[in-house]
């Protein structure tokens, strides 16, 4: 049997900001969904099913909000599926939607992910007491900082690399109208002078807390033929998980991340990702994760990731641009962040990324991870349909 090829024909995002006080949860998701439909020049009528994702329900204080959001997403009378795989959920949600098309269960699927962190308090949403487990380590930064230090010690990376990533991503965000942070006066010196939060992670090397949503319309070959704009074609997609805590876990380069990337490359026929992939939207909530994931995803040999970053290869005009959109460092509506990476990769190969377009991008990788480097989801999209 053969799978139906999956095409991205519509993409919509909200402008990501600290607090969208002007819209409800329903208003927020509907805004992104409408923009995706408009991009595809489709009406609600064309949508066969809705697949929605977000990070923990405690972040907004609504249990299973997809039930209440069914009306806002035109889902009444349709199948609606809710995915939750921690921080990787935006990516996983898109992959579940893609499977519906690939399996020929549905022809055209709306997929959407969101977080409206201003409705509640994400820090408290994560800080519920759990017996017999270690308590939260002063937020996500507290959990990840020791692993960054392990990376620096293991590779000998100079202390300046993290600030280079933050400086790059925040400059890229200036070209992306949807990014939360638009720091017009950003300089490398300002990043390096920002307060130390969790050594070695500084304030300006940390993602913001955002409200926002991202939606995509996925469809089959026939749907792509009718689409008014170029489609992005899915060439590979995978999810992998490993436990958060266990003896022998490599927090610097988790096996699940390597396996997930390898599965995607195998499906897409990629043998040399560094040469064959034109743009990467990578989940980098703390700046040092760019060099770390460059190694984990096979773009650099172990210990060499920071050299790619330092040499400017990952700049918007470098030969492997990473996070042309400004990335998670510039907008982090948590549940949506993975889908934004997937959608931005698709925008690149559709040639629709506007000012942050990588010229001539033909193949792009979208990457997401969640939990304590526990869950990974990735897809590779191309400007051409897959060969099969």
């Amino acid at each position: 049997m053969s799978k139906e090829p999956v095409a991205v024909v519509g993409i919509g995002q909200t402008r990501h900001v600290a607090a969208r006080r002007d819209v409800s949860l329903a208003g927020l998701v509907r805004e992104a969904a409408r923009r995706a439909l408009d991009d595809a020049e489709l009406t609600w009528h064309a949508i066969d099913a809705v697949v929605i994702g977000k990070a923990p329900d405690f972040f907004e204080g609504v249990m299973m909000p997809e039930l209440y959001l069914a009306d806002a997403l035109g889902a009444a009378g349709k199948p609606m599926l809710r995915v939750h795989t921690a921080g990787s959920v935006g990516g996983s949600t898109a992959l579940v939607a893609a499977d519906l098309v690939a399996a020929r269960v549905h022809r055209t699927v709306l997929t959407l992910a969101f977080e409206k962190q201003s409705e509640s308090n994400a820090m408290w949403g994560l800080s519920l007491p759990v017996p017999f487990q270690q308590p939260l380590l002063a937020g996500a930064g507290g959990f990840f900082a020791p692993h960054v230090r392990a990376y620096m010690r293991r590779t000998g990376a100079p202390a300046t690399v993290g600030s280079l990533v933050a400086y790059k991503d925040r400059r890229n965000a200036l070209k992306n109208p949807y990014a939360h942070l638009h720091e017009h006066d950003i300089t490398l010196e300002k990043v390096q002078a920002s307060p130390m939060l969790w050594d070695p992670v500084r304030y300006s090397e940390t993602c913001p807390s955002s409200d926002g949503a991202c939606a995509m319309v996925l469809t089959d070959r026939a749907g792509a033929r009718r689409a008014p704009k170029p489609a992005a074609w899915m060439h590979g997609g995978a999810m992998r998980s490993e436990p958060t805590l266990f003896a022998g876990k490599d927090f610097v380069s988790p096996q699940a991340g390597k396996d997930c990337a390898a599965a995607v490359y195998r499906q897409a026929g990629i043998t040399d990702p560094r040469r064959e992939i034109d743009a990467v939207e990578m989940y980098v909530p703390f700046s040092w994760y760019e060099p770390m994931w460059l190694e984990n995803l096979g773009f650099a040999a172990p210990g060499e990731g920071w050299k790619l970053t330092e040499s400017g290869v990952t700049e918007l005009d470098g030969d492997l641009p990473v996070n042309p959109s400004g990335g998670v460092l510039s907008a982090n509506p948590i549940g949506a962040s993975g889908m934004i990476r997937f959608a931005e990769a698709a925008l690149q190969v559709r040639g629709q990324a506007g000012e942050h377009q990588v010229p001539g991008a033909r193949r792009a990788l979208g990457h997401a991870y969640g939990g304590g480097s526990q869950f990974f989801s990735m897809w590779l999209v191309g400007a051409e349909p897959p060969a099969t």
Partner: protein, 358 residues
């Protein structure tokens, strides 16, 4: 709405090859979710003769709000044995939808086998209060209307419409608990008195027992299913549909989403002989029977259903498991399984299962 492409016969064959569930209890404070799950997962995998590492895809269903903490499902993964890394996903709802996601994964051809599991410990909190958080957060949830009160609205609407009466509801309750006597996993079994009113017109016996529990299913495709199991329960069709959230815009005496899901699952093509319905309240069985066109010849909930044990987030998956078991032991030729989510049957899933002809 565009048509579902291709006739169902072109689809890959996928079957339930193993099913296991816990002995459901009022309170399992002495075990963690992972400890609750471990024996159930071992049982299901053992039936299929597989180890966790040999499964191509894993998907689970649960809810953080029942556990009372964020990311609660990540701890449950410890019971699966997630090393080396596995291909895994999770739905924040009943495990029936996790099974749906796994079924689609097998249909793509990307996996031959899938492990699906679900669990819920309703005892962790006051479940009637917790479920109010499912409602519209701006207008309805601040009023804290609880799940039993909403179900009572639905029951009263049915009585007012002449679709049932309190005596008929008591009959449903008695039948479910009597049938549950044959189910070693059930919480309530044997004849029970109707009890006092909880919220009129619903009495104690019309409501589901607060329950902790877990369940697991192994799915396999085509010849793999035949190899792993003497009599696979083939999933002939499966679909799910959602309705508007606000109770005021729905006719609570009907379930168009169930009817549509059943149509899309092919349930009406041939009669079924057995139906496992996820109806936590007696009156909801009345609604579902009508939507699914089930007459008196169909055996309804021989397991006792959700009235005998309601481990939330696993109850729907258990309906699919029980229907598959009926097919596998030859008690059913063609069985229907139904799962629900949300207040007053807002979201509904229907699966049709059959054995090979003998």
């Amino acid at each position: 709405m565009s048509a579902t492409p291709g006739p169902a016969t072109e689809r890959r064959e996928v079957a339930v090859v193993a099913f296991a569930q816990s002995d459901h209890a009022r309170d399992t404070a002495e075990v963690s979710e992972a400890e609750l799950l471990l024996p159930v997962l071992q049982d299901a995998l053992g039936q299929a003769g597989l180890r966790a590492g040999e499964i191509d895809f894993t998907c689970s269903g649960s809810s953080d709000y029942l556990a009372g903490r964020a990311f609660s499902f990540t701890m449950a993964l410890d019971s699966v044995g997630a090393w080396p890394p596995i291909a895994e996903s999770h739905v924040e709802t009943d495990g029936a939808w996790a099974l749906y996601e796994a079924w689609v994964k097998l249909l793509t051809g990307a996996a031959e086998t899938a492990l699906v599991y679900a669990y819920g410990k309703s005892s962790s909190g006051a479940v009637r209060d917790v479920l109010t958080r499912q409602l519209d957060p701006y207008y309805l949830a601040p009023l804290w209307p609880d799940s039993v009160s909403l179900a009572a609205l639905q029951a009263q609407a049915l009585i007012d419409a002449g679709d049932t009466d309190e005596a008929a509801l008591a009959g449903i309750a008695a039948r479910a608990r009597t049938d549950a006597a044959e189910n070693p996993h059930a919480r309530h079994s044997g004849p029970v008195p109707p009890g006092d009113y909880v919220v009129r017109p619903l009495r104690t016996a019309d409501c589901p027992p607060v329950t902790d529990g877990a369940a697991a299913v192994v799915l396999a495709a085509g010849d793999t299913a035949r190899r792993l199991c003497d009599r696979p329960a083939w999933i002939r069709g499966m679909d799910h549909r959602i309705e508007a959230h606000a109770l005021g815009v729905r006719d609570l005496t009907d379930s168009p989403s169930t009817r549509l899901a059943a149509e899309r699952a092919g349930a009406f093509g041939q009669p079924v002989d057995t139906a496992e319905l996820h109806a936590p309240f007696t009156a909801q069985e009345v609604v579902l029977r009508k939507a699914l066109r089930l007459d008196d010849r169909v055996r309804i909930n021989p397991s006792g259903g959700a009235l005998a044990a309601n481990p939330m987030m696993a109850t729907g998956l258990i309906r699919i498991g029980e229907a598959a078991e009926a097919v596998r032991r030859g008690a059913s030729r063609r069985a229907l399984a139904h799962a629900t989510s949300g207040p007053c049957l807002q979201q509904n899933l229907v699966a049709v299962l059959e054995g090979d002809p003998r």
